[in-house]
Structures are given as C-alpha cells and as structure tokens.
Symmetry: none
C-alpha cells in the first residue's frame, strides 16, 4: 500500500513543464481506480462506499475527491478502463493464420469476461434504471463504439473463415456475440447451475453449430442439404 510515486517517474524530468506532475496524477488516479473496480465489483455500485474505496486505495475519504468529482465519475472511469481492456484483448489480438478465427474470437469474448468477473459485473451495472446519470452521453457512446469494433472483428473472422457472406457478416457476428453474452448472463446469475447445465459444454455445442454451417452458403434454403 506504499505510495512511492516520484521515484519511478524520474525519467519524466525532460518533459515539458507540468507533464511529470500530470503523470504522477494519472498514476494516483490509477491506484484509486483499481481499488474502486474491486470494491464496485464486490459490492455493486450502490453498496460500494467512497470511504471503503478510499481506504482500500490507501487514501483518506476526502482525497478521492481531488481526483474524481463524484462517485459516478469514478465509476465511469472504472468502466472505461474495463472497456479499453476488452478492446485490446478481443479486437486487437493478432489473428492466427490457421483456421477457425471465428472460434478463437468468440471463445476469446467468453474468456475475457470469465477471467475478469469484476469487469463483467461492472458492465451489468450500466444497465437498468439506476444507470448513473453522468454516464450516458460520452461514456455510453464510447462503450458502444468499442463493443462494435469487437463485432466488426468477429465479422471479419466469419468472412475469413468462409462462414458468412460479406454482406451478412455483421448481422451474424452480432447474433453470435449475443449468444455469448446470454451465456455469460446465465452463468453469472447461476441459472445454468440451477438447470443442471454447465457453460463449457454449451459453448462447445454452440461452437459446433456455428462452425458446421458450410462456407459460401446461399443463406437460407440450402443450409439443410449441405450438411
């Protein structure tokens, strides 16, 4: 919980005035944001208290407000961080030359949120009537943009794998991503367990269905025969 900031930032010395100061500030914001992400994910947005976040970040109550004007702004920052991570991991990951880029992308989407339960939780809080007011305009657009870039990526995979025609690709990508989100939802809310099903076999089945649709297929009437 030590906050040695200056030492690791000495190399900033040559930067324009104020820049090092800004870098330190950014670093501290990170510290708070990471602590907040943990607490928000554990407690939910309502139940998380600024006191607890502050303490967990090694700051006192009032100090947080030097970096974030409101609880909502802090939440927005936390969420933005998550979305950027999703963008990096799923959309920018290098496409393997081998077959089935589609499987890789969809499983990657699943894996991302499975590996980061806190991030998935956060995304959920976005949704619902209590949506933090300060979030809507900029952040919601940002969220959608980032998520759409993931869709575009999946669409490219579908085309590259010859599973879909170019003009149908985005539609199909959204359709598949929708299922992944549904699975994440069912899994997190413990419904799958209640139904005596497990996520992985369902994912396997779904992937099988997706990949077994023939390439360059004329989309509706022939699919049946091709199998």
């Amino acid at each position: 919980m030590e906050r040695r900031v200056t030492s690791s930032l000495k190399q900033d010395a040559g930067l324009p005035r104020g820049t090092r100061r800004d870098a330190v500030r950014q670093f501290k914001k990170h510290l708070i944001r990471d602590a907040a992400k943990q607490i928000f994910a554990e407690r939910g947005i309502e139940a998380a208290s600024m006191r607890e976040i502050a303490q967990s970040a090694g700051y006192t109550t009032g100090s947080i407000y030097l970096y974030f004007d409101t609880k909502e702004e802090l939440y927005a920052e936390v969420l933005r961080d998550t979305l950027h991570a999703l963008y990096v991991v799923v959309a920018e990951s290098p496409l393997p030359a081998g077959a089935s880029q589609t499987e890789r992308a969809l499983r990657g989407l699943w894996q991302f949120f499975t590996d980061r339960p806190a991030d998935f939780d956060l995304g959920f809080y976005l949704y619902g009537g209590a949506r933090p007011a300060g979030l809507s305009p900029q952040l919601d657009d940002e969220l959608n943009e980032l998520l759409d870039s993931v869709m575009v990526h999946i669409a490219q995979c579908l085309v590259a794998d010859g599973l879909t025609a170019q003009n149908d690709a985005h539609h199909q990508a959204v359709l598949h991503a929708t299922w992944i989100f549904g699975l994440l939802l069912m899994n997190k809310t413990r419904r799958l367990k209640a139904f005596d099903e497990r996520a992985e076999p369902l994912l396997d089945s779904y992937m099988h269905n997706v990949l077994s649709t023939a390439p360059n297929r004329p989309r509706s009437q022939d699919r049946r025969g091709r199998r």
Copy 2:
C-alpha cells in the same frame, strides 16, 4: 382471532362474511405490488426506497407495512408475480396442433419480456454484483424451478418437432433460451441499436437456424462423443 364484520352493503350479500374486506385488501396489495414492480425495475432493488414505492402507490410510508412486513418480502412478492406470469404464458399456453412448437415457445419467451420490460429488469436485479442479492433461498429456488419448467417445456417442443433427440433436448433448450436472454439483454441495453441491428431480424435468423436443422439428422450422437 377471526373478527368478521357483517357488512351492511348490498353487493356483499352473496359472499361469505369478510370476503369483501379480504378482496379489498388483495386489491390494495396489488396496487402496492404494481407500484413496487415499477420502482424496483427502474431503480434496482437496492436503490428503490419504500418511501418512493409508498408514494407511487398512493400510500404513506407506514401504510405499506400493513401489507408487506419488509422491503424484501415486497420484492419477493413482486418477483413471484412475474415468475408465475412467465410460467403461465410460456409453459402453459396451449400448443398449436400445427408444426413448429419450438418457434412458438422461443418467440413466446422473447415476447413475454419484451411486453414487460420491468419484469425483465427485475430478473436481473436478482443478481447484484457477484451474489444472488439479498434473496431468501426459498425464493431463489422458486425462481429457478419456474424457469426450469420453461426449459423443460422448450425441450418438449424440440422433441415434438423432431429437432432433437430426447436425451439432448434439455441441453439444447437451455442453449436456445440462453440466446433469447442474450438478445433481450442486448436489446434492453440498447447495444443492438448502437450496432445498427434490430432484434426482430436477428430473431428471425436465429429461428431459421434452429428450425433448419433437419429432423432426421443424427445430431445428438456426434455431439455426445464430444463431451
């Protein structure tokens, strides 16, 4: 401790004593429950306040407690109501003699929550953060049981339509329902709109995929080997 009051009102004549009073009481419970459902859906279970619910139902703060002992009991009642409605609409609706009972069931599932946005929200708030939030085990069991009965119903449809073997039916039912829930999620959170897609065409596509799997295709066997 019964204290039935002989009513002097005419319209009460045919009913057993006290029935009218009870009926009024039930009606008032409905009023409160409906107001509560709205508020719970808008704000989430945590952020919804008994004060606001009371006011929205046209009561004062204390009066609510004449009908529901705690906030949680009120929430439970609200949720129970939703679940029973889902059970009735999806699982007990008469199966048409014609083909494609599966389509009917899945579209019914979609329609139910699309017609009742608040009810879908409610189901989500069940899960607040990582935990099935503040719900009594009984109620959670009740929820899961009712939802599972819907799965069972869908499974029966799949088998009746010859789309799945008996032993794979539940697995497939959950898989399809998962997609419906994913679509509801993407739709509610306005992601679909952001992606420039609409729910109905996606639903049409998905239904087409589901139904185009040949009746006589030995689909379940090869999947079973995979597991």
Copy 3:
C-alpha cells in the same frame, strides 16, 4: 380470551339505569389493565406497544382508546391498581396478637414485591426523567399517600413491639422500609448475585439487628450494653 361479559353480570339488572353498562365497562377496563400490566412489566413502559397490549387483551388496536385516552393513562391505571394491592396486603393485613409484628410487616413488604415482580418493575418506571407527564399530580399524591399509610402501619408495629418510642416511630419506620426497598433494588438489578450474596440471609441479618434493639431503650448511648 373469551369475553363473555353479560352473563356474569345479570344480577346487575335491578340497579339504577346505566349502572350495568358502567359495570360492564369497568370489567372490560380490568381486562385491558391486566393485560397491560403484564406487558408493561415485561417490556418496560417505553417498549410496550399498544398493539401488543390490545392483542394480549383480546381487543383490536383502536378499541383500547375507547377505554383509555392515551398510553400514559393506561399506565397510570395499571400503577394505581398495584398501589391499592400494596395497601391492602401490607397495611390492612390483620396484626397477629403474637410478638414481632414489626418483623411481620417488614417481611410482608419484601414479600409483596418479591411475589409480584411485575408490580415492582412498574413502580420503578415511575422514577426517572421519563416519568409519564400525565402521572404527576393526582397519581403521585395517591402513590405517596398509600405508601405513607404503610409507613404508619410499620411505625405502629414498632411501637407495639416496644422497639421504638412513639415520637421516633415514623422516623424508624421509614428507615427500615428504606432498607427493604434498597434490598429489592439490589436484588432485582442482580447486584446481590454479582456480590455473591443472597437476599434472604441479608434480610435475616437485618431483621435480627432491628429486633435485637431493646424495647423502651434510651435511644443512643445504651444500645451497646443491652446486647
């Protein structure tokens, strides 16, 4: 909890108009008062709720107010009843011809409250800042009058037993009664138990001290030699 009132009051028929009605009313007040005494003693004056008292008396919430205007008035009635009982038991009990009327009276005072823990509790609630406002004028006087009559009785015993001169009797009576009340206090508050003492031996010791003071003694200097 049956409230058959009329049947046992038929003999009232010949009374002046309104009297039977009043008697019924009095009887019902008794029912409520007795239930209230129980609850007040169990819960304390603050924590006792009119709802619980009503229920315990077999009435509904609102009905109590037909008999007692406020909670305080009900409490006052309960207390008045207790005080009359004390008066009857301690002060009016027949004096035995045999020796040691003093011992009899003092032990009677102790016994009265020991046998009726609820009544002792009630008496205590009188005391303290939260003293029910509506109590002070009439009831407090009534209480004091009744208690003083007990003092007078004890004084008579002291004189009759030759333990005190007439002109010192009241002073000595109060002094002894004070000790009894102290013992009741220490016992009820569980201090005696904490000190590893028991009430009865202490009472025995005290009675021994009281009775061993010689009759018609010249009050100060000689007591020592007489033992």
Copy 4:
C-alpha cells in the same frame, strides 16, 4: 495507517506529532459523553435519542458516529465513566488515620450519588423491566466488579473499625450499602419528602446504629449459626 500531520501551530511544539489532534478528539468525546449522560439520565436509555444527544452536544446527527459507533457504545462509555469516578471517590480516597473509616466510606457513597444525580439515574437504567437491559456482558461485568470493589472497601473499613469480624465483613458491607442505595432511591423518587422525612437525619440515625454496635461484641458467631 498512521497519518500524523505536522502542525504549524506554535503551542504544539513540545508534543509528539498528532498528540494535539488526539487531545482535541478526546476533548470532543468528553463533550459528547457529558451531553449523553445528561440525556440518558433524563430520559432513560431507551427514550434517549441520538439526535437529541447530538444536538445537546452541539453536533449534528451523523457526527456522533465519528466518535461512538453505536448508541450502546456511547451508553457504555457514559456508564464506565461514572463507575470509574465512583471507584476513585469511594474506594481510593485516602483513609483518615482517625476513627470511623466506616462512616467515611458509607457517607462517601451517599455523597457521591447525591452530588451526581444523573449518575445515580444511569445505574438504574441498567435495569429496564426485568432484564439487565441491552448491555453487553462485558460492561455488566465491569460494572459489577467496580461496585464490588466498593463493597470490599467498605468491608475493610468495618474490620478496621472493629465493627465486624473478618468473615462477616462482606455480608455486612453489602447490607449497609443496600441501605444507602435504598435511601438514594427514596430520596430521588421524592418519597422521603412525601413522608415528611429528610435524608440527612435518617442517614445520621443509620450511621449511629451502625457505629454503636460494640467493637468487642462477638456478633458474627451467633449470626453464623442462624444461616
């Protein structure tokens, strides 16, 4: 997690860092505790409200919780303060070389609570109804221990004054203290006044009785036979 602030104020110079802040904090706790003692004594533990205590101490509602976590903890602190004061005043006060340490101790007990009416009330509220109300076992033990140390002190006085044999001393001490508490009770509840008696003459009489029991009288033996 220490966060000592180097003060820029002069008068702080000689003290370790943070001491002044702590001292201020302690002082404020005292202010709140004293206000609380007053309110608790006036209203009783149940009826006293944190709001009123806060207001009386010059704070707002929430501020009290910066110093005391719960109402009970505040009450405990108040009571502890009283008990320690009693211990200091009665048990640790220097014993005069001259005769009659017993008189000094018993009159000290009387004087302590007479000088601090609120403190006497507090001790009573310990007991609310029939139960030792809402107090943690620890605190109750602490109370009893401190009170018992007073009894032990009185017992020592009795022995030192040759009024009681060693093995009977504690029993006699409790017996005498019981009377003092009885007198305090009768006095506070204004019964003495109603009986036309005053506390001081009664105390004088009692002290006379106590001290006039001969030093060389073999008093404890015959009592022991009685038990």
